[in-house]
Symmetry: C2
């Protein structure tokens, strides 16, 4: 039996998928194959964790419901397309060379190597197009630009792409604790941080609250990554829909290889508790509950 909160989360993911759909380009023109490959890369059963964090942060901090569609949906589409483009490029033969993801062929495996590159490029670009379609109630563009700056910074050379670079460069080599933390903080953490911070900025939160969201997200991101490492050892092919044990096979340094399973689980739980404590200290009441539930559920997830 599926627990009620997991069901609710799956429903919200499905709702988010429909809300981001209008922002993913589609055409019958000569470049049809490109937009098909882009859509294939986005509508693949993803968990929509990043847009979900954004939306629940926006709601937790009192963002106006009436502005979700014009202000938050474009940014949810943007962050999900950035996440998806990063997976498409990570899967390429010159990178991780993965042919399956969530039980389906990866984009390059289905559409060819050139289209894998181009679909990723198109998605990164479409992410900014989507976010730029946002409309601010007062017409000023101040929140939109602030949110876009966070998005661009966290996705770039000092964020996700920077982390991915070090991860790829270190493939097959041992990593120090410091290097591993760098990769986790940038490759996965930066985008999760931008998800929460953008939700806060769009809700009109103060700088202090936006910073606190960064503190929460930093812990959530590291916990999430440690859980990934745990799942690579303990998960099953069925649950993940991809090959497991790949870290060990590739002699990859992970949190588990550095600290062992027990310490990894403990650290993950501590991080999660710290994140929840910071959230509890922020202004707002019941509206924070769904966000707190999501954060709590990230510990001990099986997929």
């Amino acid at each position: 039996m599926i627990p009620e909160k997991d069901k609710k989360r799956a429903e919200l993911a499905a709702e988010i998928t429909e809300r981001i759909r209008p922002f993913v380009p589609s055409t019958d023109g000569y470049q049809k194959i490109l937009t098909e490959a882009m859509a294939y890369s986005v509508f693949n059963g993803g968990k929509r964790l990043r847009p979900m964090l954004m939306l629940l942060t926006y709601r937790a901090l009192g963002g106006a419901a009436a502005e979700e569609k014009t202000l938050v949906d474009p940014f949810m589409a943007a962050i999900e397309m950035i996440h998806c483009y990063s997976l498409v490029h990570d899967d390429l033969p010159a990178m991780d060379n993965d042919r399956y993801r969530r039980g389906n062929l990866t984009t390059h495996a289905k559409y060819g190597h050139a289209l894998g590159i181009l679909a990723g490029d198109g998605l990164l670009n479409a992410a900014f197009e989507a976010a730029l379609a946002a409309e601010e109630p007062d017409g000023s563009g101040r929140r939109i630009i602030a949110a876009l700056r966070i998005l661009a910074e966290k996705a770039g050379a000092f964020g996700m792409v920077g982390g991915q670079t070090v991860d790829v460069e270190k493939t097959g080599q041992p990593m120090s604790e410091e290097e591993l933390t760098f990769v986790y903080r940038l490759k996965t953490g930066a985008l999760l941080m931008s998800a929460m911070q953008i939700g806060a900025v769009l809700a009109g939160a103060s700088k202090e609250v936006v910073d606190a969201c960064g503190e929460i997200a930093e812990r959530v991101g590291l916990a999430f990554q440690i859980q990934d490492d745990i799942l690579d050892v303990a998960g099953t092919m069925k649950e993940l829909g991809k090959a497991i044990g790949s870290d060990e096979k590739n002699h990859k340094t992970t949190y588990v290889t550095l600290h062992g399973m027990r310490e990894s689980r403990e650290t993950e739980e501590n991080l999660s508790e710290e994140a929840l404590a910071i959230l509890a200290g922020l202004p707002g009441g019941e509206a924070k509950e769904p966000l707190a539930e999501l954060i709590a559920s990230l510990v001990g997830r099986t997929v």
Copy 2:
């Protein structure tokens, strides 16, 4: 002897190179190799045609000199980084598989295939970061968002990436006139159009003038592409710093293979004259001269 106007243009290109430099990421951190590969891809002796068109359009339409640094420089950096990322990805083994450009190793040939992908990703992302660093005199962000929307649209699935997709998909196959025009309009034309239109938007031009800049750029873009095809047949290795005759070798449909050399030259000149006539009809006097000179010089260029 180098003609005076070519010397002036080279000097302006050198000036633009220095003005965009602060926007190209640089670090001594773990991801140093990434920012090195990104810088290598940008500081490679490029002609800076796109930022130059943007700057000269801004000046032609009466843009304030005092705001060039805070408003135009970020967008010049953005459009040049988008141009450079597209070259880096086009050169990849899965795409055109070129090992040399302007007489130097291409990015992936020098830094490896994975870094070729990541440097391109990093540059596209950095382009938006750069543009988002722009500051508007009244603090509103209206011109910045309008300019960013043009940039993102023209670089994406309905612009440059869309054109590149069809170009790659049709490699080794004949193209119809309609397909070739589609590729030219999107792959090269769209970014040139955004260069001029962004220059106009940042200068505060009316919608009519921004549209007219699109009309000019459409002709300049097609003329530029036809000239590329002519050079592929008529140029020399020395002038281009890359292998010539590659179109014929690859059985590629070009304007020259469809229409022959004489008609191609005529069409190119007509397009250039039309572009200059539209420019002459726009408001403004002497300030338009440098832009007119640049457009005129694109016909009959040898590099």
